[in-house]
Symmetry: C2
């Protein structure tokens, strides 16, 4: 088909040197405006495209950012939260002229570390998310000279984009409390730093509100795993002093809880109230619509790309920072309003047994 056109081809057509063409194309100021414009016009007309490999070889810049989105279970692509973040990240990266490369071990026969993969592809920087942050290879990556941005995890020497796990749980608990609940159960995912933040915020907020939290009301489950949340739900529903509201680790896990609740002939929110976490599409397709916390995946992904590229393009003035991205409460229909006034324990128990 159409032959590949190079700078040399353009230089011939324009009767200038290839250096002049290169400068004109890159907008250097030391080229006459008219010649520059002419060269650019010819380049456009000839369908010129820069050769990214040649450019990378020369400049040691690839305009490529690595993305480490790996999970114990599978690739991070399975989680709607992470795929949404990735998508936003990709959009912003492309807007600023960067492509994305998935980083992994084992590329072909070469077994390489994450860092080696980045070096092999000459990635200008790397975004790390949804990965075991204590993996030595991740540490190696973070400690390297490569610009790095982490999502939902803080290392002391990198920029981090954080979904606001403290305020989210605080808001949810306050919302639940305002609707008259004082017996609130919390099902959490695997013990990551995110989980620890949410759990701490849960305890702290309850304490501020004067709500006691029995150990029985805090259950461990796993993220994105309806089964373990179903088990936890079952245990909670069997408590003699049953909670009136259950908080789930994420919207998808709630499906398991919902099954268990319905299996016991209870209705949401009539007999038991619930909230999710994430605000994925599914949560608003369900009936009743799930009350949940929407994480701002669009901003998280965009900021991750943006801060990383800032660091790449301005290595000296860039400083590590932690950016906390607020989310928003989605008020669905799954938290019952129990009483107009703050209930005493006795009233509360009455409200439960009225089912």
């Amino acid at each position: 088909m159409s032959e590949i056109v190079t700078i040399k081809d353009i230089s011939k057509k324009c009767n200038v040197s290839s250096a002049t063409v290169s400068k004109a194309l890159n907008g250097h100021s030391d080229i006459g405006e008219e010649t520059a414009e002419y060269i650019r016009a010819v380049a456009r007309e000839m369908g010129y495209l820069p050769n990214s490999a040649a450019r990378a070889l020369k400049t040691n810049r690839s305009n490529n950012i690595g993305v480490l989105f790996i999970d114990k279970t599978q690739s991070g692509l399975a989680h709607e939260y992470f795929s949404a973040v990735l998508n936003s990240l990709k959009v912003e990266a492309e807007r600023r002229g960067f492509d994305i490369t998935f980083i992994s071990r084992n590329i072909g026969n070469f077994k390489m570390s994450y860092l080696e993969h980045c070096r092999y592809r000459k990635c200008d920087g790397v975004v790390i998310a949804c990965v075991s942050f204590d993996d030595p290879e991740v540490i190696e990556l973070v400690k390297s000279d490569l610009p790095t941005v982490t999502i939902d995890h803080v290392f002391d020497n990198t920029t981090a984009i954080l979904s606001d796990n403290i305020n989210s749980v605080r808001s949810l608990v306050n919302y639940i409390y305002d609707r008259g609940h004082t017996k609130i159960a919390f099902i959490h995912g695997e013990k990551t730093s995110v989980t620890q933040k949410r759990l701490a915020s849960f305890y702290k907020t309850c304490e501020e509100l004067g709500i006691s939290v029995p150990d029985k009301c805090v259950k461990a489950a796993a993220y994105h795993d309806p089964k373990s949340s179903a088990v936890a739900t079952n245990e909670l529903l069997r408590l003699s002093d049953r909670p009136t509201c259950i908080m789930y680790p994420d919207d998808f896990s709630f499906i398991g809880g919902r099954n268990e609740i319905e299996r016991q002939g209870l209705s949401i929110p009539g007999n038991i109230s619930v909230v999710g976490y994430d605000g994925i599409n599914l949560s608003q397709a369900l009936r009743p619509r799930l009350t949940t916390w929407k994480q701002d995946t669009e901003t998280i992904g965009r900021e991750a790309a943006s801060k990383l590229i800032d660091a790449i393009e301005n290595p000296k003035i860039s400083i590590q920072q932690q950016i906390t991205v607020p989310g928003e409460l989605i008020e669905g229909e799954t938290v019952n309003r129990l009483l107009a006034v703050k209930p005493s324990p006795k009233q509360n128990r009455a409200a439960i047994s009225q089912r």
Copy 2:
């Protein structure tokens, strides 16, 4: 940190020329076995990594495959079906030494076509999926000299990996019929070639079974859109001669149908039977477990990568082919067994009104 080590560095250490090192590293046969082994050992010890940019520049091969996974709505990442395919594709590509680059328009300030993006990044080939296949830019891509594999769509000059949309619908309809249903409704997505295949298979199978399909029982909705499926469900439920089983465009859309069914006080499968399509995680987390068709995303993605890389590595002997990937029926709990014997129309009507 550790400096980048090049072939030249190795050649110095080994007291051979850089040409010899290159050949040894690439396993050429014209190097003494002992020297070659020695060179490789030194390279390993020094932490040598090939410079992909230099190699690409020289060989005109990037070991990079482009991936066009774009949807009207968003990126294809939102659909669990496509993200699963992509993940499998990525795994196979990496196993064979290829990285993946997302192809899009608008990279930086350069507005480029899909083909131009591929050329810019020197992609060795491209996989096309979940895209408007009638987009002129996609056509341009397919008609180019770039090796191409399409997923779920056939062009006459490319290799295609196809989920078996004919047999899947046939199997579903047969399964439903075997359980005593003769009034089967079909809700379909936007009119793509996939949709047309499924619809044709639906009509054909019904005809083979001697089932008549009133126009009222075939409804248009949109993929991945619970709302439109809810609307279609509502219309179907209001029919005087109501279907006993509804087939949904996909598992996620079924959520909308389910809401509508429950809103009307009907139960699944007691009052109305349903099947989904895709077999995503959600479908088996629901209660009752959804009867659906599981598309073999793992094979689809793997084959797409595999065939594309075959074509890249062996351009002469590679031929276009269409590969149909079978799926499997997931027997959930959402199709009621109506009668032991094939029902006459009258019995059938009685069964319906008994609710």
